[in-house]
Symmetry: C2
Subunit: 387 residues, 2 copies
């Protein structure tokens, strides 16, 4: 698809820009945060609720959907949109990250990766062309190439070898992509060296992708390192194409990513911290599960106007979480997504109105910095950690 | 409260009647099914959804809420309605059943019951007057007396001794009840002997309760036995007061209960079977979790117009359940409650229009008989089994 992305406004004092990504299922106003629906479900929430929250594009995960219910089955049922009754846009991650972080006995060779399913131990193989085909079956609006994300930290020679493979795979993916109602994004890797990242972005930027993911970040490195990697990569990418910082969703990193020219973000943060009883507020995260909130009649965030904050108290949500009631997870997840989606709405309006610097300053003060939840290799892969 | 209940119509060919129960939080059209929110939450559903489903009265459980978050805390937070942001009516069960089925080391004496909490093993004591006081703190619209439910089967002499205790406790409860914005219901026990049930109902009916629960049924006995017990008890109760068959929620038993003069029902059935991947339909229960539904594009019940059936397919719900996604439980629970609440709506309209016999015949054909899920003493008491 040509001309899928348009830049509408630029912040003069930073790399921030506001734009529109046109997909087969509508328009995504950028910068945008995409809720993660790993297994064709944004954890605990319904498609109605995602509409109500104003999400315009959500994620699905190719690795997970390939294993269950199967990409062929999703295709047979009319594609991912129809399957999950979601009429907005969908981006599917390639599954490269999940293969490397969730599976046992994986073996990466030059043509692809062989691994055992985290569900039943069965053996599978993903290749760059196979992953494109799977996403064509799923029918997402944006497909991602298969990449390899080296763990943090990794020795330079391993980062280099992995990067060469990722680059070769990107060319194969591009050559094998057929659906013209689906955008295909490449993924910039390159570890934590600015020089390597710069070179990787320049090389990938020469390939005719519809957009560019920046992967292999937010995997345990300090945030300053992540920002330096963005500063090295983004200027090397084609300015007319969207840039997607993968796996980032803490409020401060969203705003700082936007300031460095990022257009799209995704993260399991809002639903994952909800499972730990934490809610995002305009005064920083609040772990509402703590006993100190047992008699707190205030809403999760007194400055929030979401459906949850208009109706329920911290005391009730705390009780639900404490009693193991699913409604507690639902209410926290809904609220957290509302906070991030509203923040991005504000950011978009500010860029258009020339007031992004103020929003950036305010966000830094209102949302104290916090580390992303660890997204690196996980000790005990279960479905619980998938979204 | 006097005149809380009015009978509006009677079916000439059965004991069925349509009426209205006036509580401090509105009008409950009867016969009514009450969704169960054991721990101040109808499992997986929000108060908004219960409103949308048209529930007019829901249940809370005194035993569970006493242990967590504590009746005093609920009172401090403005009572159960405000705590859970539910403006409809609430009935609280006394907790007698839960003490006997969930706790270890319980000891029943003539003045009450001493038991260890299923949560932390701490020792507690409930008495008939204490249970009334707890429910006054919770602020429910209908409170239930503390009763003792003998297991099925039990020897006649044990049923008899237990019944005498329950009857004495009922008098104590009635004498200690203070709140005049709260109705108090007695509970008919009496095991599975028609003669004993008849005598128990006659004795209890002489006490000035606002309504009468019929307890100790649906605990493993054949349905025919349960119906005989209703036929023995109901005619002995004051006709101007509502009758509540406790713990019954299978579609066939609801209709047969109505035919025997029951006005109120509650059961965890709709949310519990949802957790096992089963949905109620107009053609009997469907275990949508089964592999045979993996490619089924039909709604859970093709004849249903609920929000879930209008949007989602069996294939998707099956995937969600199979993948451990909470949304699967939500969708099944919502649909199941819709089925029971709509059935009761039909039943009420039919009684008023003189067509109850037809609805009864149709229901017997449409909802094949099934056993209630076991409600008797449970092997491994965890929070999972509480609602």
């Amino acid at each position: 698809m040509d001309g899928a992305f348009e830049v509408l406004a630029r912040d003069p004092a930073s790399g921030a820009r506001a734009g529109r990504l046109h997909t087969a299922h509508g328009v995504v106003e950028t910068p945008a945060f995409m809720p993660v629906g790993t297994q064709a479900s944004v954890k605990t929430l319904s498609s109605e609720e995602l509409e109500e929250l104003g999400a315009s594009m959500i994620l699905g995960n190719t690795y997970h959907l390939y294993l269950r219910p199967g990409a062929g089955r999703v295709a047979e049922l009319g594609g991912l949109h129809r399957f999950m009754a979601w009429s907005g846009s969908i981006l599917t991650d390639s599954g490269g990250f999940q293969v490397l972080s969730l599976t046992a006995l994986r073996r990466v060779d030059e043509e692809g990766v062989t691994f055992r399913s985290h569900l039943d131990g069965s053996t599978h193989r993903l290749t760059p062309e196979g992953v494109v085909h799977l996403q064509e079956l799923l029918g997402s609006d944006v497909a991602m190439v298969l990449d390899e994300c080296p763990p943090y930290p990794s020795p330079p020679e391993e980062v280099e070898a992995s990067l060469r493979r990722t680059e070769r795979w990107a060319e194969i993916a591009l050559a094998s992509h057929r659906r013209d109602d689906q955008l295909l994004f490449g993924i910039v890797q390159g570890g934590m060296e600015a020089g390597v990242r710069r070179r990787a972005a320049r090389a990938l930027g020469k390939l005719e992708f519809d957009g560019y993911g920046i992967g292999g970040l937010s995997i345990g490195e300090p945030k300053e390192t992540m920002y330096r990697m963005l500063e090295a990569s983004v200027p090397e990418l084609p300015p007319a194409r969207p840039r997607y910082l993968m796996g980032v969703g803490s409020p401060d990193a969203l705003v700082e990513g936007v300031a460095r020219g990022i257009d799209l973000f995704d993260s399991v943060l809002p639903t994952r911290v909800a499972r730990h009883g934490t809610v995002l507020t305009r005064r920083g995260p609040v772990t509402v599960r703590n006993a100190r909130y047992a008699s707190d009649e205030r809403p999760l965030d007194p400055s929030c106007d979401c459906r949850v904050c208009r109706r329920y108290s911290r005391a009730y949500v705390r009780h639900l979480l404490n009693a193991g009631e699913i409604l507690g997870l639902r209410l926290c997840s809904y609220h957290n997504l509302h906070v991030l989606l509203r923040l991005m709405e504000e950011v978009r309006a500010a860029i258009r109105q020339g007031t992004f610097a103020e929003v950036r300053r305010a966000a830094a003060a209102l949302f104290p910095r916090r580390q992303e939840p660890a997204a690196g290799p996980r000790p005990a892969p279960t479905t619980e950690v998938t979204g």
